[in-house]
Symmetry: C2
Subunit: 334 residues, 2 copies
């Protein structure tokens, strides 16, 4: 693993994006989102996704110059058309608009249709939380998960993200509806390890911790079995209905052509009624209560979602972003 | 199991509630919510909860005459104080207000603090969905679940509910953050059955499907392990921060004194921008895609959340509500 300074990564990606037709400003912003995901330790959805992103620009799935446009508005709710622009820039703009609406109306909601993969979902709730707002967002995806009771991919892993502002560092949950991604299964298999818990079915239809068996059956589990399966379905429905965009079943099952997806962005303003030191205290007190609770293993206190992020971010800023050498060579050759 | 006509159940509960000091109107409304939960097949959160509800009125946890009051407002967002009134009436009023806000602002949000157990969470998203609106609501609860990495109850099972309107019957997800409730564990044990999937840890800290072992260890699993655990934490934070109400760690671990809880109610109006036959079609098309997908067992098609409800409701309306005889005798003696 190679360590490359954040700025160098961002600059390199910016240059490539400009070469693809991005304006200088949008190239820098898009590159920053990729670099930040890696910097925050979300290695699967940062720089590692860049080659696929470039391939999707080249195959026409992503329109580099398309900007999201508002197509309908009603008070605190708006519908936007992503026009198949870059998914991370579209999502950032949609959350920025939901935040603006929440400053005026207490709550703001943007339904974004016809967009592209947002890369790291957590980015947009960090965006809200770092501005003092609660963010809630989700996306649908191509069919990549068998629903509970089914054997073929018919639902998406539809990540759900919730971010809560906190002076000592936001709490940000970023969860896909699959228990393990295919990327995670691959890593366990390569290390010769079994999963810590059941992760899917084997080809005989038995629950298993064997990552290779799940890769062969193509039957990973929804998180919480029937629960994550049901949650995935309703998230898809709400995003598609509110944006009038595509639902999971309408999306290409070829990830290089997963375009035109639907997303929801909600912002809630904890200070809508005035300064609220009490709200800030509530978040801190909840964190303290978790840290106080008895841990299963000594020295491994219970953690809140995103608890490691600021530490990892600081480390990667200091030492450089860890980027696989083959990946970096691939990016330099783009 | 006894079958008692819906009206008889509702009338009997109404009389008891009036005896406890409820006004005639509120007694009827509260009794209806209990009877409807049972009628819809949510037997754990309907009439079966009534004796505990009465005990909490008698011990002072629930103030029968308290009405929720708005304490702050900003556009589409309001904060209400439940004043420790009956939880189901408070929740119904909060969702009604969120719905009203969504008709004016596209989206509406009510943060309700200082309330009581809402019984069946699904009630309030059926309420929204039957009125053509998308409902999203959640509640915190007393600490009844060890977080991932912990061994003692430090988070709530914090049910999350999402309802989507549909002409052929709403889609309503009503999921607690535990994989199995203690009630469910007890039923499996009494039938001498193992759980279909891991449901918690045994006393040696191993994952197990043995319901009795989990009842002894008091370590049921969050749905999706670390995922449901993290989701429970952020739902608690948002509800407590927005309502300025209590967080899970501040609630009594004695369920007869679980009072002063915090809840969130959101409504989204799919027709905020005008009539939207396309939105209705989207929901139907998603359902059709699920029904078309290949099932794990022939004749057991993939189902959406709440798919059985209308059938069960019709059956129980026709045959009478199934109520355990000992429970009914207990209620008659209240």
């Amino acid at each position: 693993m190679h360590r490359i300074p954040f700025e160098e990564v961002q600059e390199r990606l910016t240059v490539i994006l400009q070469g693809l037709g991005f304006s200088a400003e949008r190239a820098g912003q898009c590159a920053q989102l990729f670099a930040e995901a890696t910097c925050d330790g979300v290695y699967t959805h940062g720089v590692a996704r860049f080659p696929r992103f470039v391939a999707m620009v080249r195959n026409g799935s992503i329109d580099v110059s398309a900007q999201p446009e508002r197509v309908a508005q009603c008070g605190a709710l708006e519908r936007w058309d992503g026009q198949r622009g870059p998914g991370n820039l579209n999502a950032q703009a949609a959350m920025a608009r939901a935040m603006e609406l929440s400053r005026a109306h207490g709550v703001g909601c943007v339904a974004l249709g016809n967009t592209n993969h947002w890369m790291r979902g957590g980015s947009y709730c960090w965006q809200a939380a770092e501005a003092g707002l609660i963010g809630i967002c989700w996306t649908n995806t191509l069919p990549n998960l068998p629903p509970w009771g089914g054997v073929e991919p018919a639902i998406g892993n539809n990540p759900l993200v919730v971010g809560v502002p906190r002076a000592a560092g936001p709490v940000v949950l970023d969860m896909a509806m699959s228990q393990f991604s295919y990327g995670a299964l691959e890593k366990y298999r390569q290390r010769g390890e079994m999963l810590p818990v059941d992760g899917g079915f084997d080809e005989a239809g038995r629950l298993t911790r064997d990552p290779g068996a799940i890769e062969r059956s193509l039957r990973p589990l929804p998180a919480g079995y029937w629960k994550g399966s049901g949650l995935s379905m309703v998230l898809d429905m709400v995003a598609a209905m509110m944006s009038l965009g595509k639902a999971t079943h309408q999306l290409s099952s070829d990830m290089l052509y997963e375009t035109g997806i639907s997303q929801m962005f909600l912002a809630l303003n904890p200070e809508a009624f005035g300064p609220s030191p009490r709200a800030a205290q509530i978040a801190d007190d909840i964190v303290a209560s978790l840290h106080r609770s008895k841990a299963a293993e000594a020295g491994q206190p219970v953690r809140y979602p995103g608890e490691q992020t600021l530490r990892i971010r600081a480390e990667n800023r200091k030492l450089g972003l860890p980027v696989d050498e083959a990946l970096w060579a691939q990016i330099l050759a783009l």
